[in-house]
Amino acid sequence: MTVSIRQTARTSPFPASAGIGLRSAHVQEILDSRPALGWVEAHSENYFGRGIPRHYLERIRRDYPVSLHGVGLSVGSTDALDLDHLAALRELVADIEPVFVSEHLSWSSVGGRYLNDLLPLPYTEEALVHVAARVAEIQQRLGRQILIENISSYLQFEASAIPEWEFLAELAKRSGCALLLDVNNIYVSASNHGFDAHRYLQAIPVAAVREMHLAGFTRKVFDDGDILIDTHNRRVAPEVWRLYAAAVARFGAVPTLIEWDSELPALSVLLDEARRAQSIMEAHDARAA
């Protein structure tokens, strides 16, 4: 019985449905209650090395499609690509057979020192050439296309000469990668840097977008202004739901993930957020039909 479920999950086309980020605190409840949920996304590095967490991810995989979302590959770094990290990811991909493998448009290490954060790049032609080559190499070594996600940023470099949306579109074109649009990150960065989030959406090629992310942010108030921080510790903000509806109107219903990484609520809260994303997709499909 278990085997047939696994095969069904792997051979059926991946639906444009809502999923949630998999957190270890929720794993047992998901396995026990098998909630109606399109898919789950797991942070790749949490499952490197075939430890105890891998066992649970493999069990989850029998019941749900899984996507693998990396936070540590340091795609935009000028250091050499970490081939051990990539080999660990490749092994995980072979085991889990994810629907998507995604990484970030960011860097997190230089000179062998890791800052373990998603750091912004200067949007220059030099960086574009570099990142496009890196993404192409990653795809070649993994033997599959990856998705690249836009990050939230709290600063912009003076050196930047290309808007982020153009950089992302051009990266997809040059490297052949697909895109994971994080709608919350677009909202956060638009607010932090004063650009128009809708203009961002309009500049992204429709065919490149395979997945969207939604999460909650935190507003940090300073004397000289506010900075929105991508904290993943609360419900999706109303403004972000509105932007998501605009994104669905442009890109259609694509698999959408609710991310919640700290101050974790009950599983039911995540499922509730996922249902809301699902209903926005369904409303779009109903209009389109």
């Binding site: 590095e45 890791y114 750091l119």
Partner: protein
């Protein structure tokens, strides 16, 4: 140096060094909020993120010293021990030794060893479990091959030798510990030390108390010694060390994953 490399190098330095932050600030757009504040957001994220990583690996240590002391020690550790890996689960080796040298740590003499226990537990939790070496697979060995036999320990196997009852300390500080709460306050340090094998067993991590000779023997095997060398190391510390009994016990326990001669 190409501009991107230079920018990344300068940014990374700015996370740890205020003067480096001053140097790169002109390269950051101010836009209402000053560059220094924007860089500070990243510095906070970095330190809070890795402090969270350490807190997840060392929950008992954190409980013993309190959150404020732990978080301050973590900041100090992060500042001088940069992460070297994109997989944060590999960060924090050496934190046990570091906190032992922090001001006030001498009030808790068992602190470093408790943290060492937690690191080993963490490593075993994330390690692969290979099929255990089957006793039958050794039957092809001739009697005179035995001294040269090298046994490979499971990837999860870790050893600990402490002068303090650190397993007891670890147990009474678990969130789901259901024993007499007053016991938690009266772990008797005079109970003495403990030697442990920490080993993944399926979906659990087991703590297996070891005799002095057994510990030295497994330590020798783990370092690549053959059966004769490791037995000599064990016997030097424990004249009663029984190689046959130790070999049987740990084969049955699944401690070994392979052998060579």
């Amino acid at each position: 140096m190409p501009a991107l490399r230079e920018l990344q190098t300068g940014f990374a330095a700015a996370m740890f060094d205020p003067e480096a932050a001053v140097r790169i600030a002109p390269g950051v757009q101010a836009q209402g909020i000053e560059s220094a504040r924007r860089l500070q957001v990243y510095r906070n994220n970095l330190f809070a993120g890795l402090t969270g990583v350490l807190a997840a690996v060392y929950p008992v240590t954190r409980r013993l010293v309190g959150e404020a002391w732990f978080d301050q020690a973590a900041r100090g550790y992060i500042a001088v021990h940069p992460s070297r890996c994109g997989d944060v689960h590999r960060y924090g080796d050496g934190f046990a030794a570091y906190i032992g040298g922090c001001p006030g740590a001498d009030a808790l003499p068992y602190l470093t060893d408790t943290a060492r226990l937690e690191w080993r537990y963490h490593c075993a939790f994330h390690a692969e479990q290979l099929p255990s070496l089957n006793i039958d697979s050794l039957r092809s060995l001739r009697q005179d091959d035995y001294p040269r036999l090298c046994l490979k320990l499971q990837p999860s196997a870790r050893l600990l030798d402490s002068a303090y009852p650190v397993l007891r300390i670890w147990q009474v500080n678990q969130a789901d510990w259901t024993g007499d709460p007053s016991d938690a306050a009266v772990v008797d340090l005079a109970e003495g030390g403990i030697r442990l094998l920490i080993l993944r067993e399926g979906l659990e991590v087991a703590f297996i108390p070891l005799g002095r000779g057994e510990h030295a023997w497994l330590q020798g095997l783990g370092r690549g010694m053959n059966l004769l060398e490791s037995q000599q190391q064990a016997a030097a510390l424990d004249p009663d060390f029984d190689l046959g009994a130790a070999l049987r016990r740990h084969l049955l326990q699944g401690v070994f994953s392979g052998w060579r001669t």
